[in-house]
Point group: C2
Chain length 197, copies 2
């Protein structure tokens, strides 16, 4: 199992955003849509052993679970429409209730700390100052946590320090969240850059 | 220098496509937009040593050159609008004339064979059956050629056999074109998975 958790600092918490302006009007939802694609899609298929969760404004978690997900398309706009479906149901997410929005898609009211503390896998923070990913055992199951286009805030960094098992870097350049997810997937797909056929 | 060339089998050749339906109405232009992003953008920056060319329907080449490009955004829709600008000028692309559409963006009338034959870098085909990318010297300059969501046609495969210097695989799973580009960039950025800091 591979989980990817993206902290969305400006991510919308209600469904009234324009599908025609994801970068501006929807708080960089374009970036979260690409992260969902990178975590869950390969060519003509959904990764059944992966999930992507986006954490919106330290308030809500939207989860896409590849084991149950159907009809996810690679383009940003159609994924944004799935986010809209999920965010239309936040009123039902009372207390710790997880609202099933569609097969493989759920929404819940969670702070970042609540969500991360409940994870059942070793937690790996993706961070430019971390150890090379090549030092991470490639046969493990992990939850990878990364930030969107902004850095982790000091408060988030403190949370990460208490919950993360390790920090890992995917390269010397600062890159987009979805690019980092693609690289992690490839590292695990190839058993640590060893299996290509 | 790193060049990426994506063969777009259903890519539009005129600008009259809907920005609201890139996967359907615009012949999978969503995929080409993501390929441009993967080839040219890192976090808050444009790669000045890279270019991405999309080959449309064996008829036109649209080139995005990171050395001169300005204001490229990561979302699909805004990149699609740049494609629209370029395709609005195809009538001016007579013979071998390359039409400068905007800084770093040009359009020209080229068959796949014409475009590839004129490249001045070792030509590497990205292909599932190729050698592991880890066998490619990471300090080289290359032009990488890959197909969109469809396989190379038999005619294209024949062209590739005559012009490609080698075939390289980025992993055991069939993945999206933009994902493959992201992996190649990371391989080169890290000097072959050795440099992370």
């Amino acid at each position: 199992m591979r989980r990817f958790i993206v902290i969305g600092h400006e991510a919308p918490t209600d469904p009234d955003f324009p599908l025609d302006d994801l970068p501006g009007g929807a708080g960089r939802l374009d970036l979260l849509c690409r992260s969902v694609t990178a975590g869950l899609l390969y060519s003509h298929g959904i990764r059944s052993d992966a999930s992507v969760t986006t954490l919106h404004d330290d308030a809500f978690a939207v989860e896409f679970d590849g084991a149950a997900l159907r009809g996810l398309h690679p383009d940003e706009r159609s994924t944004a429409a799935r986010f809209r479906e999920a965010l239309a149901r936040v009123d039902e997410a009372v207390g710790m209730i997880e609202v099933d929005v569609a097969p493989g898609i759920s929404v819940a009211r969670r702070t970042i700390e609540q969500y991360l503390a409940a994870l059942d896998l070793p937690l790996v923070q993706l961070h430019e100052a971390g150890d090379p990913i090549t030092e991470l055992p490639a046969d493990g199951e992990y939850a990878f946590v990364l930030s969107d286009h902004r850095n982790f805030t000091p408060a988030e960094a403190t949370v990460m320090e208490s919950v993360a098992d390790r920090r890992v870097s995917v390269g010397p350049l600062p890159i987009h969240a979805d690019q980092a997810i693609t690289i992690v997937q490839n590292y695990l797909d190839t058993d640590g850059y060893h299996r290509y056929g």
